[in-house]
Structure formats: C-alpha cells, structure tokens
Amino acid sequence: MDNKQLSVIFKSEYSNLIAVLSNYYRLTDLQLAEDIVSDTFLRAMKAWSHKGIPKFPKAWLRKVAQNLLNEHYRRKKIYEEKITPELSAGNQQIDVIEITDKIIEDSQLEMIFVLCDPQLNRESQLCIALRILCGFTIEEITKALLSNKETIHKKIYRAKKAIKERNRFETNLTSNQYVSRLDNVLRVIYLMFNEGYYSSVNEENIRHEICWEAMRLCIFLSEQKIFPKQKIYALIALMCFHASRLDARKSGEKGYLLYHEQDKRKWNKDLIQKGRKYLNLSAAGNVITKYHLEAAIAYWHTEETKGKWNNILQLYNKLLTIEYSPIIAMNRTYALAQANSIEEAIQEAHKLELKDNHHYFCLLAELYRMNNNIDKEIEYLNKAIEFANKENEKELIKSKFKKASR
C-alpha cells in the first residue's frame, strides 16, 4: 500500500467528508463528525492493507462514513427508545442519501460561511474553519496563525463547544450574512493557499493540491452573484501569480528556490496571463485591500521593466501601513536594496531585529553578499543555520555556504 497516496487521499477527503456530514445531516456535533471521519480512515487502513487501495477510494470512504453515521443514529435511536420512550418517536429520521460531487462543492463553501460565524471571535472562526474544512493539523494552524499549540487547542475546543451549545447550525444564511462574512472566508482561503504554498510543517515542501483547492473555492466564490467582486478577483490574481511559479520553485532534493534563483522560463505563462486578467478586473472601483497590493507585487515580479523595484518597494510600504508581518518587512528590505541602495537596506535590516528567524539571517547574509562582504555573509549564514528547523532549509543554507567560500 502506497503511504503517500494514502495521505493525499485522506488529506483531501477529510474536509469533504466533514463538510458533507455536518451540512447535509445538520450535525451540530463537530466532534461526532470528526470521530466518524477518523473511524472511516481507520477502517480504510485496515481493509486496504489487505486488499490494496480500491479502484474508487473516495467513493469507498464516503459510503463507509455514511454507514457509520447511519449506524450511530440507529444506535442512538434504540438507546432513546429504551431510556426515554416519550422522546423517541420519529425524532431521528435520517434520509439515506448518496454523497455526490455536486453536494460536496456546495457543502464545502457553505460550511466555510457557516463556520465563519461572527458570534465566534475571528481567530476561533479561522481555527475551526482551517481544522474542519481544510483538514489542517493543529501544528499547521499554529504555524499559519503564528500562535502556539495550546492556544489553538483552546480556541478550537471553545468554538466547538459554542457551536454545540447553540444546538443547531444556522445553515440558512441570509444574503446579508453571506456578504458580511466574506472577508473572513477570503482570509481562510488565503491562509489555506499559503499553507499549501509554503507548507510550514510537512517536509514534502509543496502541496499543490491545497493550492488548487483554494483557487477552486475562490473562483467558485467569484461566480456567486451576491458578493462584491474586487477583493475576490484580487485574491484570485494573487494566487494565479504565485501558482505560476510552483514548478520553477522546485529544485530536486533541496527544497524550494528563492525568487531570484528560479529559472523564469519555467514560470507558467497561462497562469500569469490569468493573474493579469483578474488583477485588471479587481481594479474596478476604489477598494484597495492587502490582496490587491500583494497581487500587484507578484505582478511586478513577472515584469522586467525599469522602475520595477521601486514599484515593488512602494507597494510593500503601502502594505505595511495596512498590516505588519515579519515576512513583509523582510521582503520590503530586499526591495529597498534593489530600488535604492544596498547600504540603506543593510541599515534598515538591522533595525528589524527579528532575532530568532532564520529567514532574517538569510536576508542579512544575502545583503552582505550583494555588498561583497564575505565575512559578514558567512557570519549570518551561520546564524541562519542555527535557527533553521527543517532539513531542506538547512540544505539550502549549506549550499549558500559553498557558493560563498568559493
């Protein structure tokens, strides 16, 4: 049995199954849905290790999940009939349905909106949506939201409890509710894409399928008439530009290549073209979101015209007035070196003081390399390796050592 294939199937089916179980059966008990899905996977492992992966593994999983849920209700019904006969009559009537792709598409998107419930706080919404719908592990959520495991555990626990206590999901949202929840839904999709793109935990560095899934959801969203479109288009543009570089980033065993190390001929031209189309569409109206700015930055990276780097720098400057993150700060400093001067960038880089971030020390090393200061470059590469935690990151830094000492 191929373990890799198995983990891909489980990863992609996890959220689908949860979404369908929760949505179609009006489950309020997310824990129950998760238990059933886990149980389903367990049965799959057992059955498939004897007979191999069946021809239609997804259909297999859906059928088993469905049976398990029906069984759960049957048992519950018997229990209730014996213990509390007065409550039992016909309360738990379940229609047996076939789970189809159509239902999954609608369910998954609808579930994201349902889970992005403003009565839960914003971070809890994100945690629960990432956990249930994107099948993220606690560790992945922790990284994606730059938090710690304990906090995330608590948030998910509280969110589940809140949903359970309310006794039912509000599954029939009004169009106002849909529109007002859009921002958070977009953030969930954005984080989902980023996790697929940068994959913070899994050694297998690029998990394309999460990226495609995020793009699919976003395009589906843009086709719904009720939403204002600009933000959605901007996010699609951003994802198209990034996705165009997925193949160029890969470099055999060494993990992914940085932007300026990539072979630009490998960039996917169709996706760049799509990105431009959506970026143009997103510009209608006066709305400027961080997705617009990030998409515009990604666009400029595909250009080779004069003033490119100053445009990128100004976009980062603007982005920093909306939101701070260490990654934006570091990218901005690199753009500063390209647009203004290396000396200025070095000076600014030292002000950032991101003392435990290996990317930060890589940036300093890179700036000193550009400045032909090999001693300093090596000093900072040493620091970078001290703080890198993934094997392939260490490999990448080591290869820079080799280049530096040549």
């Binding site: 100053n310 100004q314 400057n317 007035t321 701070y324 700060a329 901005r332 500063l336 002000k351 003081e353």
Partner: protein, 116 residues
C-alpha cells in the same frame, strides 16, 4: 508599548515651485521613511498629509485665512507610532524627510483615558 504622535512642521516657501519629478521624489522619500517604521512593526497609524489651504476660527468668532494662527510654521502632516518610550519614538524620527528640508518633527505622547 505606548503610542506617540509625530507632527511634521515646516515653513512654507512661496517661491518654491517643484517640478513633477521633484514632487515624485519627495513622495517617495516620505513613503520609504514611513515604510521603514512599518517594517519595524511600529507604525500605528499612517496618518494624513495636510495641504496648504486653511482657515482659523478664533474665540471671538472671527475667521482668518491660513492654517497658522500666530507662527509662520505650519503642520504638514502626522503619523502615529508605537514605542516603549518617548526617547525611542524620537529616534524613529531620524531620516524623516521633513528634517532634510529644514523642518521639525514634534513627538508627543498620546493620552489614554480610562473608560468612564
């Protein structure tokens, strides 16, 4: 962390007619400087740039022209930064484009009122 407001003072020069290139350069200098504070995670509010049109209302109800009441200097804009101390906040003003054209940066702490 506390919040501080930076107020940019300058003396308007009526004889200075910048070319479009000079204006662009000036705008870039400001954006780069504010971006630098943002990159340190210390930009609380990007503030606003103020124009040269202004009127002043006085206590007796009279209205005079110009943004400046008594002095020649005008406030050209503001931003809000966060810092541990007023000394640190003042250091952030280094490199501010207002200084290179003979202006000043005034750094003031922002009062916090307990919710009543």
């Amino acid at each position: 962390m506390k919040n501080f407001m930076m107020l940019f003072h300058s003396e308007p020069d009526p004889n200075f007619n910048p070319t479009p290139d000079q204006i662009q350069e000036e705008v870039k200098a400001w954006q780069d400087w504010i971006g630098g504070i943002g990159a340190q995670g210390k930009l609380k509010n990007p503030g606003e740039a103020l124009g040269f049109e202004g009127k002043t209302m006085h206590a007796d109800g009279s209205v005079t022209d110009g943004p400046y009441a008594e002095i020649k200097e005008i406030v050209g804009g503001f931003i809000v930064v966060s810092a541990d101390s007023i000394e640190e906040a003042t250091q952030l003003a280094k490199g501010c484009p207002a200084l290179s054209s003979g202006g000043k940066v005034e750094v003031r702490d922002i009062m916090i009122f307990d919710e009543l």
